[in-house]
């Protein structure tokens, strides 16, 4: 028992906060989109695209922030592409998302090989340094855990109150939620349903690619094939876990961060549990939380994943 408590160090919470951040940022984009009635399963692929183009931008312009900018631009394009497929063409949303995931995996690997060649070790580019927030980072205990991260990690956590504010405190949020619940009614109220849906698709795309750039430029300084490794799916799950509420979703993301940070430490403490079981621990934890937090069916946007036909 002492062993298990010894796991919970400052480093542990630091790792948890950091590892949850890309999941949370991607999930914030996703919740805005889902609130507008579109289900985007392609988050994983968008993250992967973001991770790749961030490294490419950093490689081409010798600046990590140029990489982040390029990743964001790609995110906007991906959002438009996804939006065009599911909003204008009214393609099946889950299928389109899956197509983006498959496309991303193949295309990023292929482009990386075309640009940098087949290398034993991936090319390192300039990355984003940790930015310790003045004064705050000197706080005992919490200072290190909360205020010594990469700027993109702060951005990920700032996106949570921002999303909550926009959704619940502004007229824009009201419109978005109305579209997700009953698009026809929203349209009759004079809301440009399609325009809003496109806007949310773009936000979801750029949040996902930004989350990808956290992985490749702030955690690492390079791109390896499939670097997103399932984090996009965890973001999709977090949205459901958090019942489409930004605060709940942030908790969902933190559960994944907590599970992963704990799993790694339990392994290195030599606790006699098979590694494979420990590796699925974060997912298992999420499942338990879903089962005990009885979500109300009202939380789910009623028009989610349904194509909208403008009369």
């Amino acid at each position: 028992m002492e062993n298990i408590l010894a796991v919970l160090t400052q480093e542990f919470f630091y790792a948890m906060i950091r590892m949850a951040s890309p999941i949370i940022l991607a999930a914030m984009g996703e919740v805005m989109l889902e609130r507008a009635g579109i289900f985007n399963l392609g988050l994983e692929g968008m993250m992967l695209f973001g991770a790749f183009f961030a490294v490419l931008g950093s490689f081409l312009f010798h600046s990590a922030w140029a990489g982040v900018a390029l990743a964001m631009m790609v995110g906007v394009l991906l959002g438009l592409l996804f939006g065009w497929a599911v909003i204008s063409i009214r393609a099946n949303q889950a299928v389109t998302g899956t197509a983006i995931n498959i496309l991303a995996l193949g295309m990023t690997s292929m482009l990386a090989r075309m640009i940098w060649g087949v290398m034993d070790v991936p090319l390192s580019v300039s990355s984003i340094d940790v930015f310790a927030i003045p004064l705050l980072h000197k706080m005992p205990l919490l200072g290190y855990v909360l205020f010594q991260h990469s700027p993109l990690v702060y951005l990920a956590y700032l996106s949570v109150p921002l999303a909550a504010f926009v959704l619940y405190r502004t007229s824009w949020g009201l419109k978005i939620r109305a579209i997700g619940e009953h698009p026809k009614a929203a349209e009759t109220m004079g809301i440009h349903v399609l325009r809003w849906k496109y806007a949310m698709a773009i936000i979801a795309g750029s949040c996902a690619t930004l989350a990808g750039s956290i992985l490749s430029l702030s955690f690492m300084n390079l791109f390896v094939d499939n670097i997103s490794a399932g984090r996009g799916f965890m973001a999709v799950v977090s949205v459901i876990l958090g019942q489409w509420n930004p605060w709940g979703i942030a908790m969902g993301g933190l559960i994944f961060g907590f599970g992963n940070a704990l799993q790694m430490r339990l392994q290195s403490f030599g606790i006699p549990i098979p590694t494979d079981l420990l590796l699925i621990f974060p997912i298992f934890l999420a499942l338990i939380v879903v089962l005990i937090s009885k979500g109300s069916s009202a939380a789910r946007p009623s028009a989610l994943a349904k194509p909208y036909y403008k009369e």
Binding site: T9, M119, F219, A229, F269
Partner: protein, 339 residues
Amino acid sequence: MLRKWTVLLLVFLLMISMSACQTSAPAEEEQPLIAPEEEEASVEAPEQTKIALILPGHINDAGWNAAAYNGLMEAETLFGLEVAYTESVSLVDQETTIRDYANRGYNLILCHGNEFEDAVAIVAEEFPDTYFAISNSGIRLDNAVGMFVQNEEQGYIAGYALGLLTQANQVGFVGSVEGVAQKKTEAGFLEGVKAANSSAEAIVAYTGSGDDAALGKETALSMFDRGVDAIFQYAQGSGIGVIQAAHEKNVPVVVTSVSQKEIAPDMTVLSVMSNMKVNIVSAVEAYVDGRFNKDLYIVGSFASGLYQVSEINEMMFTEEQLQMLNDTIEALKNGEISF
């Protein structure tokens, strides 16, 4: 109306991409198909030895498959053979691909990976005059042998070097997905650590992924947090993250290729590389020399040249430690230490 056209356009694009796939795929496979026929017609008299290599992945992966491909190319030039290969053979296609080569009169068929064992066992029985070799396997049939790899040796030397270096008596091992090769390497690592420093403790963690570099980095950081001050990465793509963590936190790290040193130039203890092409060349050589039979024993090890240690960072060791390390490498090469 607009919608109809976009759908048509999409269908059209899909057809183009599919037809592109179809033309490229057979072209690759047919390469070996056409070559032997021409060969048979022209050089009828002294029948040339034909060797085929079947790979689970692509030849440009800078790793497992690339090494085997290089081995095949080397064998081709060394022994003047006719060679062919097929890439990315999935589990369901294994038997067909092997049988196809056997049917076409290939003398030796090399299957690169122990996942081919079952398929070879079936086909080998049907073609008693064809010989088969399987990488990383201990299979032993009348006409099929495994090309064994002593993974323990790679782990042993890594563990030994880190055992010498550790001050905190905590040495880390980060693996990718638990499998035969990984477990064998881990076992060798534990022994190596103990041999160098009997009071050192080896801490083992697996990332569960061969390409999640970010998770590899976090795993390494969590180990450093626990007090580990010397680490070995054996986690392919995830291992890149381990090396990076070592670089950032100034922890000595053992890497598995010379180029990985670029990520942590100051903290790299040494590189212990496995060169799989050695096994392929020895199998072909054995066949050419007429030694290929049930009793052939191919083992990839330090002794056979499969493992190579390089880039030893002499600044990290004391003179005495360096001597011990070099002696251990010699002992592995001589076979004095074996598993």
